[in-house]
Amino acid sequence: METKGLNSPGYEIPDDVKGAVAITTIDRIYNWGRRSSVWPLMFGLACCAIEMIATAAGRYDFSRFGMEVMRPSPRQADLMLVSGTVTKKMAPTIVRLYNQMPEPKYVVAMGACASGGGPFKEGYNVVSGVDKLIPVDVYIPGCPPTPQALINGLIKLQEKIDGQHWKDTRWYREGDLAAIPIPMLGPDLIYQEQIPAIKEASKEA
């Protein structure tokens, strides 16, 4: 966002303090700060990770959007770019990483596999999209999405951040944020919330 937008909340600034004072809303400055420093988790799952690296490299360079600081530790990251096929064996780790990220946090599902399973959807070890495990903010189609598509998706995420109001955000609500239950690896992937249903079904069988 340009500083022009930041400085025009609709109030008249007296002439004598113009240039020394900026009046803005909390939402605007808060969102502006966050959207300009979205630090992604250094986290590559599959093919899309290569395009993510290409986007980070010189030619496309997503540091122009304040995103070049890739953090290998989830504790320092704001954005999880799920770049590739989510497998069942990897599912518990992905949920754990998401739980370890501090709020505010965002998830971008990059590519067909992360969005819905992609070409490997029917595979026995493939989760049909990362949204089966964690909430997703932006989906980027493509197999893999080109760097242009990824940048477009990240701009969409910035637009989403721009539209947020600090009063409604989940991390300023009362009480602790519930961690997402981590699925278990059993005879197949076991979703915690489905345990009663599985139990019921096995009784009938």
Partner: protein, 572 residues
């Protein structure tokens, strides 16, 4: 195929006389003896591929082995058949240690037990997984039919989402009588058990316990979702095991449901840095089954594309390897800059930067577009040689690089062959084995190039050999772009479905990472009966543990970077 005299084994070794098959059938009880003789007396010192096939109609499993001589020549195929209900085959790990991971994979996916294997755990799936997925009677949660195209999508394409039909609304399936509350996850005791605990006592009687450390699956230097479990004494590696399968995308099971052509885009996603080499291997295997020729111009374009792929893969590998050493991102920015120029050509010719899906059986999807040949010429005559020298000048004599890599992560010539290492890993240990020379395919016999080889077997040699190979590839490209003739690019009419005669075929190419093989069994239907990929990234990791023994933990990352794995291929 050459015929060898195996009469001393009597009836235990017989020529495979099924229509379309080749090689020898060995009885299970004589297998170890046969393999020992093969290695010691017949000179087949390199066991490249081990896999299984489930012949459910005949109630038996067949384990298929492909062995070579490292001095070159055609492969020797031998097979062992066992009853399906008593699937036990003696392990060849003592004779060919390179069979280690492949036997574990056959156990994991097919449930064939290899007796005598010291660490027969699941490798791609997790302990506790129900069933062996590549068995023909095992059905995944999304199972619809055996063969695509499924009726639900054809001819009206009224497709309901498969989740809707699944009771849990997800791609999962639980066995009958399964009680999730009583389920105790099997954990990783088997893995840590296999790492053999050490306890040392020094002179004063002080007992030292060894530390078990995990790297990954989320770790910036593991090149994806790869995990290393190691026991340490201080900072020294005592024992190390790679753990994989975090990107196991069921390539082979999906491949057996797909039609032949539908598999072509899936091969792109194996080693996703070098999709055109993967296309090449698969096209060769199917063309062997179909017994068709490829037009001259198409062969040239294939070679040009495969060599460009090798160059961009090696550039990326070098860049990322330097990243692993701590030269954070600067060398890889230089490498990626050149890689992008190659990707531009891929996009121009095939329509995609990474997932090219360009090869067809008997030819190519489309001809070179106008202007692309000139672009390739500009690249291979001017820019790439210059930039390769530049990288060499910037990096190879660098003090830090040399002190981190020279003499570290040593792999001897014998071990490289023993562990079935392939590609740059094998050649950096002094084995001049390159399939483009050892068993030339396509038109590689026409070009003048050297097989890059280095003799020290350390990390530095595995780095520098990639620069050598880039230079050799440029040499091939310079000849190919000058010689390329005009003409057809496809034999016959392009077809999306074809009749493939029953039989087996093994197509192999020298991919950027090493020998990439596709083992196909056809039963005459529209889809492969068995579709197996001999993945170099996967098998090169067999030597990873032994190479790391005795190194410091920080060097493990450098060794891994010098092997250059891609997880899409490792886990498939």
């Amino acid at each position: 195929m050459t015929t060898l005299d195996f009469s001393r084994f009597g009836t235990s070794v017989a020529v495979d006389e099924r229509e379309g098959y080749e090689g020898y059938l060995v009885s299970a009880d004589k297998l170890v003896e046969f393999a020992t003789a093969l290695r010691d007396e017949y000179g087949y010192d390199y066991l490249s591929s081990v896999t299984g096939v489930d012949y459910i109609a005949e109630e038996k499993f067949e384990v298929v082995y492909h062995a070579y001589k490292t001095i070159g020549g055609a492969e020797l195929v031998f097979k062992v058949q066992v009853a399906r209900d008593k699937a036990e085959v003696p392990s060849l790990i003592d004779i060919y240690p390179g069979a280690d991971f492949q036997e574990r994979e056959a156990w994991d996916l097919l449930g064939i037990k290899f007796t005598g294997h010291p660490d027969l755990r699941r490798i791609l799936l997790w302990e506790g997984f129900e069933g062996h997925p590549l068995r023909k009677d095992w059905q995944e949660a999304y199972y619809e039919e055996d063969i695509k195209p499924f009726k639900s999508r054809w001819p009206k394409a009224e497709y309901t989402r498969a989740e809707a039909q699944n009771p849990y609304g997800a791609n999962v399936k639980y066995p009958d009588q399964f009680d999730p509350e009583k389920w105790v996850p099997e954990g990783e005791d088997a893995l840590y058990g296999s790492l053999a605990k050490y306890e040392t006592t020094d002179e004063s009687g002080l007992k030292t316990d060894h530390l078990t450390v995990n790297l990954g699956p989320q770790h910036p230097s593991t090149h994806g979702v790869f995990r290393i479990a190691a026991t340490l004494d201080g900072e020294t590696i005592m024992n190390l095991k790679p753990v994989m399968g975090y990107l196991h995308r069921n390539h082979e099971k999906i491949g057996e449901r797909n039609t032949y052509l539908q598999n072509m885009p899936f091969t792109d996603r194996l080693d996703y840095l070098s999709s055109l080499s993967n296309n090449f291997g698969y096209a060769l295997a199917v063309e062997k089954l179909l017994n068709i020729e490829v037009p001259e111009r198409a062969e040239y374009i294939r070679v040009i594309m495969a060599e460009l792929t090798r160059i961009q893969n090696h550039l990326f590998a070098i860049g990322m390897f330097l990243n692993d050493l701590g030269a954070f991102f600067t060398p890889s920015l230089y490498a990626i800059e050149e890689r992008e120029l190659v990707l531009d050509i891929f996009e121009m010719v095939t329509g995609s930067r990474m997932m090219c899906n360009y090869f067809r059986f008997g030819g190519l999807a489309r001809d070179l577009p106008a202007g692309s040949l000139q672009k390739i010429k500009d690249l291979v005559f001017d820019r790439l040689p210059r930039k390769t020298d530049e990288m060499d000048r910037f990096l190879s004599e660098n003090e830090i690089l040399r002190s981190r890599t020279v003499g570290q992560g040593y792999l001897s010539t014998e071990d490289a062959i023993k562990y079935a290492s392939a590609g740059p890993v094998l050649r950096a240990s002094g084995v001049p084995y390159d399939i483009r020379r050892a068993a030339p395919y396509s038109i590689y016999d026409r070009f003048d190039f050297n097989v890059a080889v280095r003799y020290n077997g350390d990390i530095y040699d595995r780095y520098i050999i990639r620069l050598d190979e880039i230079r050799e590839s440029i040499k091939i490209l310079q000849q190919a772009v000058e010689q390329i003739p005009e003409g057809e690019i496809q034999t016959g009419k392009p077809r999306y479905q074809m009749k493939v005669p029953a039989g087996e075929a093994y197509g192999r190419v020298e991919g950027p990472k090493g020998e990439l093989g596709f083992y196909l069994v056809s039963d005459g239907k529209g889809n492969p009966y068995r579709y197996h990929v001999r993945a170099p990234s996967f098998i090169n990791l067999t030597a990873f543990g032994p190479m790391c023994k005795g190194l410091k933990i920080a060097d493990v990352v450098a060794v891994l970077g010098s092997i250059d794995i891609v997880l899409g291929e490792t886990d498939r």
